[in-house]
């Protein structure tokens, strides 16, 4: 079957999605990044610093673990890409390491970031501490409540955490607030976006920093299976950075099925969901054209997911394109099923996954695959931050 090539064009579009829909006040900032990021990333000095921090600080490469009992239960050969073993407990730090080096090369003095689950906020606060840079993280007031340990982690690391009190008080609103603060501090501040969202060049830049995930998967599979390509890669999608990173080197390998797992919340038709590809239409949010949950009047609908990291009304433009072109397969998992899968993985493999990642596991119940298939599930993060949610849910 002919399948679409997934590639960004010079204006930041993946097919019809992407671009840079930003107020003029942000144009110089975005332009500075766009003009410089590729050149800086291509320098040996950058590569060397990035690679060595990923190795010695983040702890890469992360293992590719054959999950025996899970494989038995589901009747396929299932590997887990252990992003949960990264320093700070999730894949988010791959991106923050890249962006902080970039920010230094651009002579920025301050860092701002948004965060949902707090993982990106923690990963940002961490690299800011490492580099001695001032750090402010915007976080929805609702998320500050449900991810308390991460709020305190950021504070311990020396970051200032500022609540976003508008709208649904979650990730979308934290992102609005970070963009506003970037407008207010355009010269000395770099905004570290935490997912493959936002205006061009962010989606592609973040995807490149995360692409180390699939880069490693390739040689790890070669070692273990004698082939670089699995049959399926499964990853959860909030904005879509762990998915983009684990799909990246497989975009143009048509034999690899790319399964993107969204949060259905309380159910797709419940009105309390974050299943963007099912519920969304093309629209513009946070500087890019993408699929977006919105009213007929174009107002953004407040999403819901039990997992703060998936509680976002859009998806990165590359994922909108994966959906639109048919290259990606999209699945939506309800809160309840994700929680059950989280417990199941804990019991079968001795790994408590982040609730975001638990959604990816739950997709195994919804998709078809062959007993001979090699499946890689991107285990994007660990569940420590979610203990309170697990405890509240209680069915274990």
């Amino acid at each position: 079957m002919e399948r679409a090539m997934i590639k960004v064009d010079e204006n930041g579009f993946y097919g019809q999605f992407g671009g840079a829909f930003i107020p003029e006040m942000l144009y110089p900032n975005i332009e500075e990044l766009r003009e410089n990021y590729e050149a800086i990333m291509a320098t040996p000095a950058f590569r060397q610093e990035f690679d060595s921090l990923l190795k010695d600080y983040v702890g890469r490469p992360t293992p590719l673990f054959l999950a025996q009992r899970l494989s038995e239960k589901y009747g396929a050969k299932i590997y887990l890409k252990r992003e949960d073993l990264c320093h700070t407990g999730a894949h988010k730090i791959n991106n923050t390491v890249g962006q902080i080096i970039l920010a230094k090369k651009l002579n920025k003095k301050r860092i701002i970031a948004e965060t949902g689950a707090g993982q990106h906020g923690v990963a940002t606060a961490t690299v800011c501490a490492l580099m001695g840079m001032e750090c402010t993280v915007y976080m929805g007031a609702v998320d500050m409540e449900r991810q308390k340990p991460n709020v305190e982690r950021m504070r311990i690391l020396g970051a200032k955490v500022v609540p976003a009190n508008s709208g649904s008080k979650t990730l979308k609103d934290a992102t609005n607030e970070a963009m506003r603060q970037w407008i207010n501090n355009p010269v000395d501040t770099h905004y570290i976006i935490g997912s493959v969202v936002g205006p061009h060049p962010y989606p592609e830049m973040v995807a490149r920093f995360q692409s180390v995930i699939s880069e490693e998967m390739k040689w790890q599979l070669q070692e273990k299976e004698g082939r670089e390509n699995p049959d399926l890669v499964i990853a959860c999608v909030g904005g879509g950075s762990n998915a983009a990173g684990s799909f990246y080197h497989y975009y143009n390998e048509p034999s690899v099925r790319l399964i993107a797992v969204e949060a259905a919340g309380m159910g797709i038709t419940s009105g309390r969901s974050a299943a963007t590809t099912t519920l969304g239409k093309p629209g513009i949010l946070h500087g890019s054209k993408t699929l977006l949950m919105q009213t007929d009047d174009g107002q953004v609908v407040e999403p819901h997911s039990i997992s703060a990291g998936l509680d976002y009304p859009g998806i990165g433009p590359v994922h909108a394109h994966l959906f639109d072109s048919g290259r990606g397969e999209f699945v939506a998992v309800e809160d309840e099923h994700a929680m059950q899968s989280g417990i199941e993985v804990s019991r079968l493999e001795g790994i408590i996954p982040a609730i975001e990642s638990a959604h990816a596991f739950s997709a195994l119940n919804q998709i078809h695959y062959e007993p001979t298939d090699v499946i890689v599930i991107n285990l994007s993060g660990r569940g420590d931050k979610d203990l309170e949610t697990y405890i509240k849910w209680g069915n274990y």
Binding site: P28, M179, I183, P186, G283, I284, Q294, G298, Q299, V300
Partner: protein, 257 residues
């Protein structure tokens, strides 16, 4: 002739443009607020189309957007309210809003309805110049709608020249590196920026907005440009008001006095 062109042809200084959010404080206040703005002597009306995620706006306008949406304001409702307003209002009227609601309405249908009800110009801050030129300019032109772009203190000279070339009506000078919100004073750095742009001898007139709030800040801005735009400070007046007509009259006349 387009009313914006006509205004700038006749009046070269101390132009006052007033921004408010449609549907705030009450859903049906839109046209009576417009009438009061005109009666008080302002020169341009900017109607803000409320949006759930206004990333260039500070708390005051975020709040008026929220309230207006809660009140039930939509583009359809707004156009319904605006039917026939030209029987009473003769000054230029501009719609200002974020791109997504406009795109959902349909750009062609939006521009057509704007023209039908009597809108003269548009400000869509998150519409990139390139998209405008390649996708929408012909539609704006077909319905005789002026398009205003923003510039800020960080905008490069080359970019300002480019914007000047593709703007018609006027250039919106964002007064400082800042989201919207009423401020107290205009700083020397801001004045240097106003003068720097003035010295570029652009083809378009310049209005200064964001942070202009009272008579002194209006006068300072107007001294270095063709006039100024007041938004958040006016929304504050609306929010506190017990008699819209009188309070609008008093506020605007206080600015112009």
């Amino acid at each position: 002739m387009n009313r914006i062109d006509e205004l700038f042809k006749q009046k070269k200084e101390r132009i006052l443009s007033i921004y408010f959010t449609a549907g705030f404080p009450q859903l049906d206040d839109t046209v009576s607020i417009m009438e009061a703005i005109q009666a008080a002597g302002a020169n341009i009306i900017e109607i803000g189309v409320p949006y759930s995620d206004p990333i260039a706006d500070g708390p005051t306008i975020q709040e008026s957007n929220n309230q207006a949406l809660k009140n039930g304001m939509t583009l359809k409702v707004l156009f319904e309210q605006l039917k026939g307003f030209r029987e009473r209002i003769h000054i230029p009227v501009i719609l200002m809003g974020y791109l997504n609601p406009v795109v959902q309405y349909g750009m062609e249908a939006f521009c057509k309805t704007c023209k039908e009800v009597g809108i003269d110009g548009l400000i869509l801050p998150d519409l990139p110049m390139q998209q405008y030129l390649t996708e929408y300019k012909h539609t704006f032109d077909a319905y005789d709608l002026r398009n205003t772009f923003l510039i800020s203190p960080q905008t490069s000279e080359a970019r300002i020249r480019q914007i000047d070339q593709h703007t018609d009506g006027f250039i919106y000078m964002v007064s400082s590196a800042s989201i919207t919100g009423a401020k107290k004073e205009v700083s020397p750095e801001q004045i240097a920026y106003f003068e720097r742009v003035k010295a570029m001898n652009l083809k378009n007139p310049r209005l200064i907005g964001f942070g202009i709030s009272d008579k002194p800040s209006f006068q300072t801005a107007a001294a270095h440009s063709h006039g100024a735009i007041i938004g958040s400070a006016f929304i504050n007046v609306l929010r506190e008001s017990t008699n819209l007509k009188e309070d609008i009259q008093e506020y605007i006349q206080g600015i112009l006095a």
